[in-house]
Symmetry: C2
Subunit: 358 residues, 2 copies
């Protein structure tokens, strides 16, 4: 089941991961270039299915924490995330067998590839969110109640830390977030390592393949002059909720996050109506004429109407023509245990979750 990723796979991943990043995870643009460069230098990427992992395999789980606006301005060295994995291996006193993404959304889909290239490890075709979420505890591993520690963190100025114990997943988020903020709201991290059996039981399996396939769908639709937004809706089983023009955007980088709201004024069938989107790195709540029409944990995606490219919370700008689509979240995240981590109330909204397809 293992396969070597191609240049086209990498290009497709940049498109697909950005769509399911639901506005966050950071624009893949810069780290897509990083991985293209690594491939041009002869590095190869071996994508393995979670089922191929030995039960006792040690899997490094990586992401870059921070605020997407900062990630656009501060270029990442692909060695930073590899360094985070090395520090973790030193801390554990044992090497890793594979690397996987914490979140498949946006730029974070490229983090395991960058680590793997420098460490010569395979990449597991899985993540722990199936999208992007703003905080470190918003994962399938946390919902499963797996051990939240340790975590290693790297800033390229030479700041390296290991958070070796925490009482809760939320404390791991808090402790790693303050270090991230202090180093400039961006830091490469290696999260609590997982065994093969934990990855097989609790990860969102095959999410990298699905992101690549979603990108390929967009690529084929463009080549065939079909509507790429329709192609994404068909491929994902999502629903088109709204279309219009971005008429307002408010952003602030605070507490290590990008927070704010965007307003889309309706066009065509939606003329005269408005959608407001609130975000914390990711789009969290969509309201049509002030009524919630989609909330976390469900996936809210704002797409460029022409190209089908995702519009990120840090890249959205006045005047963009945008289609709003949404998809139902996987069952684990809709469960009572899941909603405690990734439901609207977990993110500060006094709202019940709204499934856009219900």
């Amino acid at each position: 089941m293992s396969r070597a990723l191609t240049i086209t796979d990498i290009d497709d991943l940049a498109v697909g991961a950005w769509v399911i990043g639901t506005g966050g995870g950071g624009s893949p643009y810069l780290n897509h270039l990083n991985v293209q460069r690594l491939m041009a230098d002869g590095r190869t990427f071996d994508l393995i299915d979670p089922t191929e992992l030995a039960d006792d395999a040690q899997v490094a789980v990586v992401s870059t924490m921070g605020a997407p606006v900062v990630m656009q301005e501060r270029l990442q060295d692909s060695r930073d995330v590899a360094r985070a994995v090395e520090i973790m291996a030193d801390h554990l006193g044992s090497p890793f067998d594979a690397v996987m993404a914490t979140e498949i959304g946006g730029s974070n889909a490229f983090q395991p590839l960058m680590a793997a290239a420098h460490l010569d490890l395979p990449v597991v075709d899985a993540d722990a969110m199936g999208r992007a979420y703003p905080e470190a505890q918003m994962t399938s591993f946390a919902i499963a109640g797996l051990q939240p520690w340790p975590l290693s963190l790297v800033d390229p100025r030479g700041i390296e830390a290991v958070i070796s114990h925490v009482p809760t997943w939320k404390w791991m988020e808090r402790a790693s977030r303050v270090l991230t903020v202090e180093t400039g709201s961006m830091a490469a991290t290696c999260k609590a390592p997982r065994t093969g059996v934990e990855v097989k039981r609790w990860s969102v399996a095959n999410s990298m393949s699905l992101a690549i396939e979603l990108g390929a769908t967009v690529r084929r639709a463009r080549a065939e002059h079909r509507d790429p937004v329709d192609a994404i809706v068909d491929e994902t089983g999502g629903r088109r909720l709204f279309a219009g023009k971005i008429i307002d955007i408010e952003r602030r980088t605070t507490g290590g996050f990008l927070r704010g709201r965007a307003v889309v004024g309706g066009l065509d069938a939606w003329a005269g109506r408005e959608v407001e989107l609130e975000f914390q790195n990711e789009w969290l709540v969509a309201r049509l004429d002030r009524q919630p029409i989609a909330t976390v944990p469900h996936l809210i995606c704002l797409l460029d109407v022409e190209s089908g490219e995702a519009i990120g919370t840090e890249t959205a700008r006045y005047g963009q023509r945008a289609a709003l689509i949404a998809m139902t979240a996987p069952e684990l995240f809709r469960s009572e245990a899941g909603l405690a981590y990734v439901g609207p109330r977990a993110m500060g909204y006094d709202l019940d979750p709204v499934d856009p397809l219900a």
Copy 2:
């Protein structure tokens, strides 16, 4: 030269360390009780001279970081600082031979005793400040350019971290401070470990003995109905600068520090005049009628006129009768390299240092 500390030594240390804490280091009250309890439980404390250390001895350097107001309210478990040393030993993969204080001022004089009691290690008669300073980089070890990493940090809720690399001493302060603030502005830490040869060359030697002797001086003066403030001035070679009544105190706990100012209205020879004291955990600048009369790195001590007990920046209150005394800092801290870390400009004041005895 090694000796077992007596109950009287511990009582004297509480008084002497609080005087040379220059308002900071935290009130010794609670940790004095901790150490009294450990002695009542049969623990002994072996104080060794730095010259007794083997050149390659591994010495743990401990303190509790945070804001003194918080330390008054949150009781410390003596095991916390021992745990910080254990985490450091695990990180290094080798055990420690002795423990010493980062700062001899205030409550932090008791930290190596608490660690030593649980770890069954001797305490080195030395520290790295010869007083208390607000920030972690304000040490003889930093001035000497020794390696600033690693640092371990413990919060009793089960938050444990190791900052394993930093580019500068100031970055170690920044990274450890944000974790301290996040855990509630108080955390037990084990700083960068030192070898025996480093301690012998760069520590402030015999500062624990001197603090104990200073406390004994106060105790004897009280017993003999002599003025304890005069006794402190004689013992330390300091100077009495002012006496009066505290007529204003402003305090705020911000960024993990206690900051503010106190105003003392003159009495007797100083009637009609005012001293203003600015502080960041410690008294940093004293101004008489708006003219600086003493600044860091020199020691500024506010004492209760009756008892000779130090008045801390967190305990100073309206109406207290206080004597202001000051002492010249050791030469290392007055050097150009020293002032870069502990001079008025290093603490944000556009002032040249003022030696109160010059």
